[in-house]
Amino acid sequence: MVDKNQQVIDKTLEQEYKYGFTTDVDQTKFEPGLDEEVITKLSKIKNEPEWLLEWRLKAFKNWKKMSEPTWAKIDYKPIDYQALSYYAAPKQKKNDSLDDVDPEILETYNKLGISLDEQKRLEGVAVDAVFDSVSIATTFKDELAKHGVIFCSFSEAVQDHPELIKKYLGSVIPATDNYFAALNSAVFSDGSFVYIPKGVRCPMELSTYFRINATNTGQFERTLIIADEGSYVSYLEGCTAPMRDENQLHAACVELVAHKDATIKYSTIQNWFSGDKEGKGGIYNFVTKRGNCLGDNSKISWTQVETGSAITWKYPSVIMQGDNSVGEFYSVAVTKNKQQADTGTKMIHIGKNTKSTIITKGISAGEGQNTYRGGVKILKNAENAQNFSQCDSILIGDKCGAHTFPYIDVKNPSAKMEHEATTSSIGEDQLFYCNQRGIKLDDAVSMIVNGFCKEVFEELPMEFAVEAKQLIEVTLENSVG
């Protein structure tokens, strides 16, 4: 059985990445290299106000003084930041009408199953499509505007809502927060911007679809979501990239701000190219995501399904500043072939009666290495803070690894903390049981893994829960027996 399992694990590794095609499109691209001139040029193309350029340059100055973090359990060759291009965009301006979008690009999104045509789009989901460094189109903008909801590309927001950008940019992730956040602050090119006004429940799911196409280009997007008092928004991001032999860098920043009584639900389905079976190519995903529950009774919930990237370095976090605020993190991370994921969360309790929940499911196959790294911090004034953490890992085959690093720092004695962690293999006995009932090995594996991930999938918006389930099935096809 074990040998047979290994054979099928080997078979999985030969699985083709479905989204690995490239799009041939006329583009404007910067020469590789990074200095103040490049940043100034970028800012100029985007017609940014002076203060934003200064903000970028300050971040760049800081970044140069910082060094790349080495504490994560990931192993990769040093990145040559001067060999990357910091801007790549299809040769055309932002379009008001889809008719103006390069048909090649529309076709790309169609192939990815993302229709930008509002008529054909899933009902109740608005999409912002980001292709390399720029946003291509945002759907349902007018419909959303009727409710006062602003949903547009980050670049547009800089032009149309500078006061909001100035107020909130860097308010959750300071430009000097960490090495990759500083780099992003200096060179970010586009991303999505969302503002939900007071008391509005956003009438549809908002989503951004990130696509990296250009070679040797870093994608540095910046997303900012602000939920004003008493509002609610559910937001989803999806990501894919072509198969290329060289590694591509993706260093994003996502900032969320929830005011009093507001709720932000942020879901990610990340399926960047993960590299081939020798570990060649794939996306380096160094992402800083953080939400601030600024007001009382606010809530921020992160749900992520991570199946792609050669390297994942990502810790969506919540700062619970308001009293009675709630932070949640639900994660499924799959690593196969030579993928490495070091992911987790940080829950920082500042307000009274704040409550956080962490549920993570790590799945390792092939030679994948899956690390959960989570920090829970209860500050001195956080009376009656509560945390529940549950970190489960499952191993498929005997060459992969799962690691758990919980960090707990409690400064207030009234805190209640619960932590559970398990690691198990997909049992031969479970597979035997399913097979004995006539269920094929592949189906049995996906059944067992989906069962394992159930608590997380339940947190996804329904349309995407189905997508996530299928993604896991495709990813793990032939991974056993």
Partner: protein, 246 residues
């Protein structure tokens, strides 16, 4: 129906089955009794194709199809069903989903249409009520947090849903109270007919008070040493197995 010829099997280079001959025609219930370690459970597992065991010789055939080398799921689809002694839990996988997947795998193999959710549910509910189980049973994760009795009843629910050609009951009676034992027996009696067969592996007479076997086999050290009728069971209950070791 099932024909086992001179079957030899080992685990971790230790020989357990040393030449088993067994034939169970359609419509018959056979019982295998024997001491702990005599190879009874090994036989059940080898019939089901558990790959932890190595078949060193002999053959197994179902309805004249040689299944000795067949994969676990294919022999299941050929009609072999094992009621597990220790059914394993699969957290997060709902009973209904699992059972319907299993049933439809069989139906597909038989060239039938898949059963839709509603028909399946009606079917399953009827069986549940006969087993004295609540409908909510279908919403639970397979064997996860089940009591000993619930686990065995879940096996019988699966047996009656899948309706195989051969049911192998591996100590299904162990650890059951009298009521649960009766329920399990009722389920098995409901299952058996002239077209299928049952192999019961047990230590005790008590299940056989409810299910009447046609043939009783006694197993010692990897071999069937004696076959006969119900009177063998009574003799074993009274005298144990040592009288066979001569």
């Amino acid at each position: 129906m099932i024909k086992i010829k001179n079957l030899e099997a080992s685990i971790d280079d230790k020989t357990i089955l040393k030449g088993i001959d067994l034939e169970i025609p359609a419509g018959e219930v056979h019982v295998i009794m024997g001491r702990n370690g005599s190879g009874k459970s090994t036989l059940a597992n080898v019939i089901a194709g558990n790959e932890a065991y190595e078949v060193d010789g002999g053959s197994i055939a179902m309805n004249d199809t040689d299944i000795t080398e067949m994969s676990i799921e294919n022999r299941a689809l050929e009609g072999i069903f094992l009621c597990f002694q220790y059914p394993v839990a699969i957290p997060g996988v709902g009973m209904a989903y699992f059972l319907r997947s299993a049933l439809n795998a069989h139906r597909k193999h038989q060239g039938k249409d898949e059963m839709d959710a509603l028909e399946f549910l009606n079917n399953a509910k009827a069986i549940l009520s006969e087993l004295g189980l609540d409908d909510s049973f279908l919403k639970r994760s397979i064997n996860d947090g089940f009591s000993g009795g619930e686990k065995k009843k879940s096996e019988i629910l699966q047996l009656l849903t899948i309706n195989p050609k051969l049911a192998v009951l591996d100590e299904t009676d162990s650890g059951l109270d009298v009521d649960a034992l009766r329920t399990v027996a009722k389920g098995v009696n409901k299952f058996k007919n002239e077209n299928n067969s049952v192999l019961i592996i047990t230590h005790y007479q008590r299940l056989l008070n409810y299910i009447k076997p046609d043939v009783v086999h006694l197993m010692i050290d990897g071999k069937i040493v004696k076959s006969g009728d119900m009177s063998l069971v009574e003799k074993v209950e009274k005298d144990g197995y040592s009288w066979l070791e001569k």
